[in-house]
């Protein structure tokens, strides 16, 4: 059998091994397979469930005290973690759960915010005309020191590479030209939404620079401006307060981030978006999702925002009692919010308990110091391919002693994650050490035997209550890596570090960067303030869309079932239903149910097709009404219209197979069909026959009689026979 090593979420094999063959014996689902640029090992990303263990023989878990796996389980119980499905409101009250939102919504404009490039055209990552490289340098803070994020980003010594496509980016995008006048269309939309949020609209827009050193914007800052402050939105049983709404430019899309190279495309860069920030008024994960939905519906009801993948993105701020505000960035789907915030709350809770555990051990954080020394593969008796490969590649292998961290490294911090991951994540992001970058004395997937850890403890002259880790990387990155480990462990004494985290689809998060403070804003010296006059505001206010909460009330009024509201609000169909009710004899509840069911289905089936303009729906309904067609014909017409929105309604009607027929015509057709049924079917079940007959006659009945009536007719005929 080919040796395969399992670590974190990765399985990896020696370069000579045939990976698929090796993995086939493990019944592991391989998600991706790549050759590590650093070690030359093949790395397979797998879904490995730690609780189930892995399917390969591997060194046993540590034997001193309790095992790492036992400690993980124990601390999991200690934290009181439970799946979200089992959590109640009380769970979150006990945690002191608080959540605020920052909703980013792209605006539907032709051009970008500060230049004249077209907005909304995306390129494939490998489709570009030019590449250029920049480095982001921190600017000094007020105290003459670099702030946390700035220093971290500088320490990474990233080469930021931008891939430019001429169609979608100009010299402004790459910071070689000052900004042009702000896009007035975007500003008007932003003011409109600011009014819908009931905020106080500013008298003058001041373009402000917000520093970002990750390279996501080539200038190193985002141009952003407050449009309104202090508003509110209603959600079930409460009001959520709005801190502010700003108009800003979107950032680059990341292509890859490997080692010291981070690559972006500049297509999305500079597209106008609004950011709506709420107070931390949401006290449960479900409330957070509800508020996010509300804000999205509100923006969509303007009819002037972009929809589709990436058009709306949420940053979610979470804190618990004793914890810190942690920002989960770039949540692509609102439905992810509850799981992410739930897990983040427990992560913070766990980190606070780790701090307690460290304090119990009487370690003064100020005196805490890690020790480290280089080791060689020969120092280990276990064959440890990643360590050997790193060494062979000329990298250094460093063993680190973390005083007092025994039983902390395997401390539960979330499903499938423990404290050691916090260190490993930061090594990847800050020190640019690609994963797998370390293992530790309490690894849940150990690759080094207990005996070897004993040896290492000897080399480090470690005490029993200490934890150890081994990491590896290029010479140039070792110093930064040691600082990173030191900082993260120091922070463990205080509890929850200030940071932004990236969301993963499984509901957990990983470290992204240190949370920047408010001290990173300064005026844009390239642009003048833009007055927003009272007349401008009143003009926009006059054309304002109906409030989302009013829309919801309207739906309830009509008796539309609650579970259909989300769809109708998301695509802003309530206004259309109103128009249809006004123009035709079709009642709003019928229209609401029909639209949410039929359109939802068609959208799913033809996900790759662009949706037609829903503002034309009333015309289609009016067409049916004026022709005196039975309204159920819409069930056939809607999908056709969705696919061929430019064809005439007459043509759609023809395609639907409609022919005029009366009740008697339908009745007359039944006996022949019944004969055919007898021939084809062996069952004597009258229901089966009725079903079959209704199915046969449906096309004839559509548009002529209600489908309900068809059923009655068939029932009568079958009953009679």
């Amino acid at each position: 059998m080919v040796p395969v090593w399992i670590m974190d979420r990765y399985a990896y094999c020696t370069p000579s091994a045939r990976v698929p063959q090796a993995l086939s014996g493990l019944s592991l689902q391989t998600k991706s397979l790549e050759k590590s640029m650093v070690s030359g090992y093949f790395i397979a990303r797998c879904d490995i469930d730690r609780k189930k263990g892995t399917h390969v023989s591997r060194p046993t878990a540590r034997s001193a005290g309790i095992s790492a796996a036992e400690n993980y389980e124990q601390t999991r119980r200690l934290v009181g973690y439970l799946p979200r499905s089992d959590a109640t409101e009380a769970t979150y009250t006990d945690l002191g759960f608080k959540c605020g939102l920052e909703i980013h919504q792209q605006l539907l404009t032709e051009k970008k915010l500060f230049c004249h490039c077209p907005a909304g055209f995306y390129q494939e990552p490998d489709d570009y005309d030019a590449e250029l490289v920049r480095h982001m340098r921190p600017t000094l803070s007020e105290l003459g020191e670099y702030d946390g994020t700035a220093l971290m980003e500088f320490r990474t010594r990233k080469n930021i590479i931008y891939r430019i496509k001429n169609e979608t980016a100009c010299t402004y995008d790459i910071d070689d030209t000052p900004p042009f006048r702000i896009n007035q269309q975007a500003l008007d939309i932003a003011i409109e939404i600011a009014l819908m949020l009931k905020t106080n609209v500013v008298g003058e827009l001041h373009i402000t620079r917000k520093q970002y050193l990750d390279g996501s914007i080539p200038t190193g800052f985002q141009r952003t401006a407050i449009v309104g402050i202090e508003g509110d939105i209603p959600i079930k049983d409460k009001t959520v307060r709005i801190i502010q709404i700003s108009l800003e430019e979107d950032s680059c899309r990341e292509v890859s981030d490997i080692g010291h190279f981070r690559t972006y495309t500049t297509d999305r860069l500079g597209m106008p978006l609004i950011e709506t920030v709420t107070y931390p008024d949401m006290l449960t994960p479900d409330e957070a999702a509800e508020a996010a939905h509300y804000l999205r519906f509100l923006a969509r009801s303007s009819g002037k925002v972009r929809t589709g993948i990436g058009a709306a993105r949420e940053d979610v701020n979470v804190s618990v009692t004793g914890g810190t505000r942690v920002e989960i960035k770039g949540v692509a789907h609102i439905k992810w919010i509850p799981e992410l915030t739930h897990n983040e709350a427990f992560r913070q809770s766990a980190l606070l308990m780790i701090a307690d555990r460290l304090r119990e051990r009487d370690i003064a954080p100020t005196e805490w110091k890690l020790t480290s020394r280089d080791i060689k593969p020969d120092d280990l008796r276990t064959d440890c391919p990643p360590v050997e490969a790193a060494f062979a590649a000329g990298q250094r292998i460093v063993a680190v002693n973390l005083p007092g961290f025994a039983d902390c490294l395997s401390f539960f911090t979330g499903p499938g994650r423990c404290f050691a991951d916090e260190v490993s994540d930061r090594l990847k992001v800050i020190a640019c050490l690609e994963k797998p970058n370390m293992t530790n004395s309490e690894s849940l997937d150990p690759i080094i035997s207990d005996d070897d850890w004993t040896t290492i403890r000897g080399l480090l002259t470690a005490a029993p209550e200490d934890g150890q880790l081994i990491f590896w990387g290029p010479e140039d990155d070792i110093e930064t890596a040691l600082v990173v480990i030191d900082e993260r462990c120091q922070a463990a004494f205080a509890g929850v570090p200030n940071e932004t985290r990236k969301s993963l689809p499984d509901g957990t998060t990983i470290f992204e960067r240190v949370l920047p403070g408010p001290d990173r804003m300064y005026p844009d010296t390239d642009s003048a303030p833009i007055p927003i006059t009272g007349e401008q505001i009143e003009k926009i206010r006059a054309g304002l869309a109906v409030d989302v909460s009013n829309r919801q009330l309207q739906l309830r009024d009509w008796g539309v079932p609650e579970h259909l509201h989300a769809f109708l609000l998301r695509y802003d169909l309530v206004g259309e239903i109103e128009t249809i009710a006004r123009k035709t004899s079709i009642d709003p509840k019928y229209t609401a149910v029909l639209l949410s069911q039929t359109l939802n289905h068609v959208r799913g089936v033809y996900a790759d097709r662009p949706a037609p303009n829903y503002r034309q729906l009333p015309d289609l309904f009016a067409f049916v009404d004026e022709r005196g067609l039975e309204r159920d014909i819409l069930k056939a017409l809607l999908p056709l219209w969705y696919l061929y929105p430019n064809e005439s309604f007459d043509s759609l009607l023809e395609q639907s197979g409609y022919t005029p027929a009366g009740v008697e015509d339908i009745r007359k057709a039944i006996p022949d069909f019944r004969k055919s049924f007898v021939v084809r079917s062996s069952t004597k079940d009258p229901d089966a026959e009725v079903h079959w007959l209704v199915g046969r006659l449906r096309p004839t009945a559509l548009g002529n009689i209600p489908l309900k009536q068809l059923r009655e007719i068939v029932d009568e005929e079958v009953g009679r026979g």
Binding site: G144, L205, R209, Q244, P529
Partner: protein
């Protein structure tokens, strides 16, 4: 670019805005709640830029954002606190390292390094060695740095007076034994200053490097720090003892180019890689690790201090950019106003239209020195090719070879500063001193690549690291 930072304008309020602040006894720097018809706003009242209107008050919110409040919506202002800004930049002592070269940085006013006052948003220039060390600590690995601020003017306000003062200061530093000189300069007229220094400071034994930045140093993507590192490295270590401009090669953060001070020109209003050597190739490339000469025929660094400083400049010299249908009064009025020298940037090989001829004749008769350069920037003036050229020379215009128009202007001012004898002026003008006229134009001295061509697109497609 609006360079009048908040710091200089402090208050900046006038008219209706000032009246409103006075009416409610609200002070700049006070933390205030402003009640308006559009709702309440709370923050610190900031100074306003003098060029902005008198209808708004600037407020910094707790989130760090600035907003403006229309004064005609204000019902009340309630002061809740007060804190005046402190603009001092913290200093860290620049470390002295035994054995490292000594470099002098002379400041003219451009902002090379700066830091932000986040509370007010003001950009504060860093200039003393301590301040620079705080902003660009890498400098301490390159040299022992001392600085002197000669003046504080924007690039466009640099002129003869400043050229002369700079040249004298450079001479003094060389005499004192400095290993290299860096001059911080705004970029707009950097090439004018560089050529002026190339003429006024002859035969320098050490590198003299003019440097600036296209993106102000308060932004993380600024080219300032890297340019300063490159310039300092060049001054400290390079073997090239000439007046040079050191700025970005490509727009990417890859390497800098060292341009000869008399052949360099700013070619783009905003690009980082705006400075180009015209009609020749740059002297060298410079990055954090090394300086790589591209031209072998540069003047070498020397131990001696035999520099010749000629800090003179005749200010009544003008440059005229010819355009079709130009009339003679343009030239006449210069002559009538007592100008002693005129540099014309002519079309093609060096031409102007017939209506101007009599004015030129009159000017030369009145003892005004007139030199011809080309608008095409690349290439020599060739006035024998067409009758027009021959006619013009007959009327007294002197072709200035392949001197760039700006360089010819500076040189004419410098030459006329030394003598009124037009024959001597001619001799000075046409004798190459610092590469301003080249005997030959190398084949690779003219390259303006055209986008869209497959080979150019291929070059642009990937970075060259």
């Amino acid at each position: 670019m609006r360079r009048s930072g908040v710091a200089e304008t402090m208050e900046g309020y006038k008219g209706a805005a000032l009246e409103t602040l006075e009416r409610f006894k609200a002070r700049v720097w006070s933390e205030s709640q402003i009640k308006t018809t559009r709702g309440d706003f709370t923050g610190i009242i900031l100074p306003r830029s003098e060029n902005d209107d008198d209808k708004h008050i600037v407020l910094k919110l707790a989130t760090g954002y600035n907003i403006g409040i229309a004064v005609d919506t204000i019902n009340d202002i309630i002061e809740q606190g007060y804190k005046q800004a402190n603009y001092k930049i913290p200093e860290k002592e620049f470390p002295v390292t035994e054995g490292l070269p000594h470099v002098k940085l002379l400041g003219t006013g451009g902002t090379i390094a700066s830091r932000l006052d986040y509370r007010t948003g003001a950009v504060i220039p860093a200039f003393t060695p301590g301040e620079l060390y705080g902003a660009v600590p890498e400098l301490a690995d390159i040299c022992n740095l001392t600085t002197e601020k000669l003046f504080a003017v924007f690039s466009e306000n640099m002129g003869p007076q400043q050229y002369r003062k700079l040249a004298v200061a450079i001479g003094e530093e060389i005499e004192k034994g400095i290993d290299g000189i860096v001059i911080g300069h705004g970029t707009d007229t950097m090439h004018h200053t560089a050529s002026a220094l190339a003429f006024m400071v002859q035969n320098p034994p050490v590198p003299i490097v003019v440097v600036g930045s296209q993106r102000s140093s308060d932004r993380p993507s600024s080219d300032a720090a890297l340019n300063l590192i490159h310039a300092t490295k060049t001054a400290a270590e390079s073997d090239i003892a000439e007046v040079m401009v050191c700025m970005f090669g490509p727009t990417s953060d890859e390497y800098g180019l060292l341009h000869r001070g008399t052949r360099v020109r700013k070619m783009h209003s905003s690009y980082r890689s705006t400075f180009r050597t015209l009609g020749d190739i740059p002297l060298a490339t410079v990055d954090k690790e090394k300086i790589t000469p591209l031209k072998p025929d540069y003047k070498r660094r020397r131990k001696d201090r035999d520099v010749k400083i000629t800090p003179v400049f005749e200010e009544r010299v003008a440059m005229v950019y010819y355009y079709p249908n130009m009339q003679r009064d343009i030239i006449d009025s210069l002559v009538d106003n007592g100008y002693k020298g005129i540099v014309i940037a002519g079309t093609g090989l060096g031409h102007v239209n017939k209506p101007v001829y009599p004015a030129i004749e009159r000017a030369t008769q009145k003892g005004v020195a007139i030199y011809m350069t080309v608008q095409t920037l690349w290439g020599f003036v060739h006035m024998f090719v067409y009758d027009t050229g021959r006619d013009l020379m007959a009327k007294g215009i002197i072709p200035a070879e392949n001197m760039l128009p700006e360089v010819a202007y500076v040189k004419l001012g410098w030459a006329l500063g030394q003598t009124d004898d037009l024959d001597k002026v001619r001799e000075i003008m046409l004798t190459p001193i610092a590469g301003e006229i080249t005997e030959r134009e190398p084949y690779n001295g003219y390259i303006v690549l055209q986008g869209g061509l497959p080979e150019v697109e291929e070059f642009l497609h990937s970075i060259h690291m």
